[in-house]
Symmetry: C2
Subunit: 703 residues, 2 copies
């Protein structure tokens, strides 16, 4: 095994070999060469074809071995059957990275799977990085490096820019590049990972979000193989203030089945993937159109200082529609100051001067008036975001130029406000407004949704470095790899800082009187046994025990009942704990996700979880601030704020418990399959939180 | 008052007068004349301008009075101040309809409001119909009648087609027409209603959905004035199988404020409006782009036979994405039969033959293979809907023509399946596929969402005529216009068929023993008084009374407690009723919406309503089938199906209660402000449903 090479040779090679180079510029072995020659790529390019002296007018080489120098990257345009031999030749020569275009590997057959594993082995042993197989390759628009046979470059290359694209699917990645180019967006790097025998989406993302020119990434995946690497890449992106707009497919049942029959990615749970994206501030796009709309905003916008939006319209209806959308997107449509409203009313009595500011169609026939309105909004409205609804005016044959000039002048002196337009016009008119610094959308809803996304990206970036210290250090414990009684599980978790009510274990032959007196009444009694996770069914739970006599009688009956109903169970005795009254019942759990590792679940108890599936997730570990965001995410959150006259619950203590548990789970990953705290009672504010039950399922019991 | 004229003179005039006709073809008074002359309108056009002999080369008239004949419609391109005089002249001459373009009426000032009321009065007295003021008018593409000054016809007119547009906002209506034209959609009628001093969106809709060429309507409103007319129009649309795609704005708080400051429409509650659209099968679009996407499908699709969708793709990723969307849209992505899958596997071992059927990029280089795949899907898949994902292939310079031909041949013999494509290509290529009968979208999610809408439109059309008879006739009663005790409210509603537990009213000086014995124990006792809607607070409710003695004691204490705590209340006595155990608690209510009339509300009891606002609405009356759809709409519906081992609840009986109550409410509209049944206990299936409390607030008490 060698240390794997950096991905720089894959993404920014100084020299390129094309194995299987073809004279036909429309074939897989011909396109990359044609692109590299036409795009201005400045490095060395070596066509390899043992049957020809020249390819597309360039001298051809017989083999990798016979090249005059070691290329940084080798593009393999050879059939699946010939791939292993080529890969080995590249590795032997010390090539930095290879890109395998051919399909016919793990996605096709068992035989293909074996071949793919062989490629992986060669990569691991040599340190050479391999992209694919079954991928469309890479491009780097800055250097003109087109290591791809994607047909979308038949029409045009791509301008460099702050957008990058990382896609498991070649076809989807090509489609995104095509749409971005049509939208006038520049692209810095583009990579499609296909079957991911070595380089995967996570690692490509990790490399790309370090590139200084990259501000936003559009990503596509059906699943990720290495959850930890993926989480690290998302964390790095957030720290580098790179916005990620993700299309994750396979959320439906049929979709998930199709994923598994497609590139055989480890799909994992879509709900967990979704929670991960939310946790790291990644925007999960629901449609490709939305993915483009958000990426466009993140590419073109400078910085966003807040969420106050001023809406300027020439027609009331559009303004109302945009105000509706703004509320959904979490933007604040704050009113203009009263004095500024008076001023606008004086200028045009018909106007609505509040916000949306409606200057009516009148303004289109009186552009200086329009300028005055817009300038008043920008100067006096205190807006972070400004959107003007221009309709088809900018395409008007009669006043397009004067309108554009008026817009430019009106908005010149307000650099801190992000200025956006909706309009319906041909691309060249859109570009001219963009050149003046405007974000331009045809659909107002798409614009507002994108502005909401920008505000949330900003909030997530700002969270970096704001993490608060753990309330209590988590000790490194050892989780026994055998069934544990509730009492043992509680003792273990209590050492990790999880709060439980006081509890006494009474051996079967002991008298419970003294312990009962000490704890105080009323009490709850439970049978204590590692063999009885379901206690109620064997008569192993008694509530509301009011005095010592009741406790003694209950203990005798419980032991008798359990002896009859579960004769083989090993009994430690019974536990006694005070009854806890009041508070809001919640459920907290941790499970070990095969991809992402320990995942913490939180929900309200009872019907909320069972009927409404009102639960949310976070990968461990996380801090108390993140736990608060998690808690606020559930639909029934109002229950914790106090309803029907109930006092507000101790949400801070609940957040502390969640954070504490997440750190315990992360520190003991691999040792458990699941941990359940059900219920966790959240007491009134200031009184804390108590877990009333605990169940730990160790890893070995389910493996 | 005269009988109002039909809207035919407004929408299909044989002759048109243009008051304020201008020689300048870019002015409000010039555009309509220019349009009418260029569009091929075959009727008479009379420009009116007292200062000129001719306008745009046509002879001009001095006034309406001096016209050689009475025009069907008069377009008024005069300032607000001159409008009333013109309107009166039109009415005096017997003109059928007038369109008022000018702004400056109710949306502007009190003075404007008075002027607008004057127009309304003239319309009501004369029977002449008035559209506007503050509107952009009407067009009818079939006849070339452009009674509008909208600037979007500067570039081109509109082809006739099955789409109609009804918009309160002129600017929004123009924008929709512009987008539809760009999308290649033909439009039959277009109307913008503005301030709606006479003709409103509801009446325009009502007229338009009767036109035989109209299959789909895009509508826009901020609110409706006449709820009953609106409901009647939606009902007619459904009966005529006309799909309506509605943009209703003002759902947010800021948006609703902006509505009220805009055209001053009676906004009503957005939640009720939303429920009305759902009830009548209208699609409420969230964005303008979505509105277009749905209208496009409804315009172009023939008929939809079911919801089974076959997906053909050349790239796994796109297929998975589409399958995800299909599940969200309620479509069934059913698998290909096993034998057909085997056949496809033999044709191409790399293929995924299930559904989505993935023929891989291979199929693009082997079009006969692609045809075989598609034909197998259409012949053997049993699909109602077929979607093929073609990407940018159709725009390829090398194989665009052969691909289009292959697609046409492959799909020729399956007329019953609706065939759709996603592709990225210039408009002329899109049109060529459309000409072959395909629906064409760029975005797959937009396509699938639209197909889901078509399936739901179909389902709603099919519901017409399936209404079931009422379970019991609703007698015409009279709701007393004074406060009523719970007992009196129950008695009234029981006569209307609402089921309550048996209940006895015991006068204060009577002994409750005999009644208690007859009812059986345990019992619930409540104070009976029209003056005490909140009984618990005065000690007026006692539960779990186990025998006669308890009942007697409870009655004495209750009467004493109430005498102390509410000395002024008039006491009828107490009621006794059996305690009802088990079942699921729900809440049923009716309130009188200012626009839509009586609206029935349904939700689960307790925290579901208070925390989750998990309630739904229907306008009264409706039948049991509609009630079942209403019940299934709430998020917590699973509670009624039985959770935690509880038996399924008697949903049919609940639906019967809702339908019965809705008919009672409709028959007594105007007599009450609200009716509350809280709780309504739904017993296990077969055991019925019981309302445990009733409160009626008569209309006069809140008016």
């Amino acid at each position: 095994m060698s240390t794997p090479h950096s991905l720089s040779s894959l993404f920014s090679p100084r020299s390129i070999a094309l194995v299987g180079a073809s004279d036909d510029p429309t074939r897989i072995g011909g396109r990359p060469l044609r692109y590299l020659r036409a795009s201005g790529y400045a490095g060395e390019v070596f066509p390899i074809n043992p049957n020809r002296d020249s390819v597309q007018g360039m001298p051809a080489y017989a083999s990798i071995a016979s090249l005059p120098q070691v290329p940084d990257v080798a593009l393999l345009a050879v059939p699946a059957a010939a791939t292993i031999e080529s890969i080995r030749a590249c590795a032997d020569r010390g090539v930095g990275a290879a890109i395998v275009f051919s399909a016919g590997f793990a996605e096709t057959s068992e035989e293909g799977k074996v071949m793919q594993q062989e490629i992986t082995s060669i990569a691991r042993e040599s340190g050479m990085r391999v992209l694919g197989p079954n991928c469309l390759g890479v491009f780097n628009a800055q250097t003109g490096y087109y290591g791809t046979f994607s047909a979308i470059f038949d029409s045009a290359f791509v301008q460099p820019g702050p957008l990058a694209i990382v896609s498991q699917s070649g076809a989807y990645g090509s489609h995104l590049a095509h749409l971005a180019r049509e939208r006038g967006l520049g692209i810095s790097h583009w990579v499609t990972t296909g079957n991911e025998c070595d380089v995967d989406v996570a690692e490509a993302l990790d490399w790309i979000v370090e590139q200084p020119q990259v501000k936003v990434v559009m990503a596509y995946a059906e699943g990720v193989r290495d959850g930890q690497r993926f989480l690290a890449a998302l964390d790095k992106a957030r720290r580098n203030q790179v916005a990620i707009v993700f299309m994750k497919v396979g959320r439906s049942q049929v979709g998930a089945q199709a994923v598994s029959s497609h590139t055989a990615a480890l799909a994992g749970s879509d709900a967990v993937f979704d929670a991960v994206l939310r946790q790291y501030g990644v925007y999960r796009a629901r449609t490709t159109a939305e993915q483009l709309d958000i990426a466009y905003a993140a590419s073109r916008a400078s910085s966003v200082s807040g969420n106050r939006l001023g809406i300027f319209t020439l027609s009331g209806g559009f303004g109302i529609q945009m105000a509706d959308d703004a509320e959904d997107a979490g933007l604040a449509v704050t009113a203009m100051p009263a004095s500024a409203q008076d001023e606008l009313k004086r200028l045009l009595p018909y106007a609505s001067p509040n916000n949306p500011v409606d200057a009516t169609a009148q303004a289109l026939t009186d552009l200086p008036l329009m300028s005055q309105f817009i300038r008043a909004m920008l100067d006096k409205g205190g807006y972070d975001l400004f959107a003007a609804i221009l309709g088809s005016g900018p395409a008007s044959p009669t006043f397009a130029d004067s309108l554009r000039q008026a817009m430019a002048e009106a908005t010149l002196d307000s650099p801190d406000c992000l200025k956006c337009l909706t309009l319906s016009a041909p691309a060249e008119i859109v570009r001219s407004y963009e050149a003046q610094g405007f974000l331009v959308y045809q659909d107002g809803s798409a614009l507002i949704n994108a502005l909401g996304a920008l505000v949330r990206f900003r909030a997530h970036f700002d969270q970096v470095g704001q993490t608060d210290p753990l309330p209590a250090a988590v000790p490194q414990l050892s989780i026994p790899q055998r069934a544990m009684s509730e009492h043992e599980a509680k003792s273990l978790l209590a050492r990790a800082g999880i709060p439980f009510p006081a509890e006494c274990l009474i051996a079967a032959d002991q008298d419970p009187g003294a312990a009962a007196r000490q704890l105080g009444f009323p009490l709850v009694m439970k049978i204590s046994s590692a063999d009885l996770p379901h206690k109620t069914e064997v008569g192993g739970v008694r509530l509301h025990l009011k005095d010592e006599d009741e406790v003694r009688q209950a203990m005798a009956r419980m032991l008798e009942s359990v002896r009859v109903k579960a004769p083989d169970a090993q009994i430690e005795g019974v536990t006694l704990a005070p009854m806890i009254g009041g508070g809001v019942e919640t459920i907290v759990g941790v499970f070990s996700d095969p991809t992402m590792g320990p995942v913490v679940m939180f929900g309200l108890g009872g019907v909320y979880v069972e009927v409404l599936k009102d639960v949310t997730f976070r990968v461990a570990p996380f801090d108390q601030q993140e736990a608060l965001r998690m808690i606020r995410e559930i639909r029934g959150f109002a229950m914790l704020e106090g309803v029907r006259g109930a006092p507000p619950a101790d949400i801070d203590a609940l957040a502390q418990l969640l954070a504490q548990l997440s750190h315990f789970a992360a520190a003991h990953a691999g040792q458990f399959d699941s941990i359940d705290l059900n219920p966790v009672v959240v007491l009134p504010r200031g009184e804390g939180v108590l877990a009333l039950d605990a169940l730990i399922v160790p890893a070995t019991l389910t493996a």
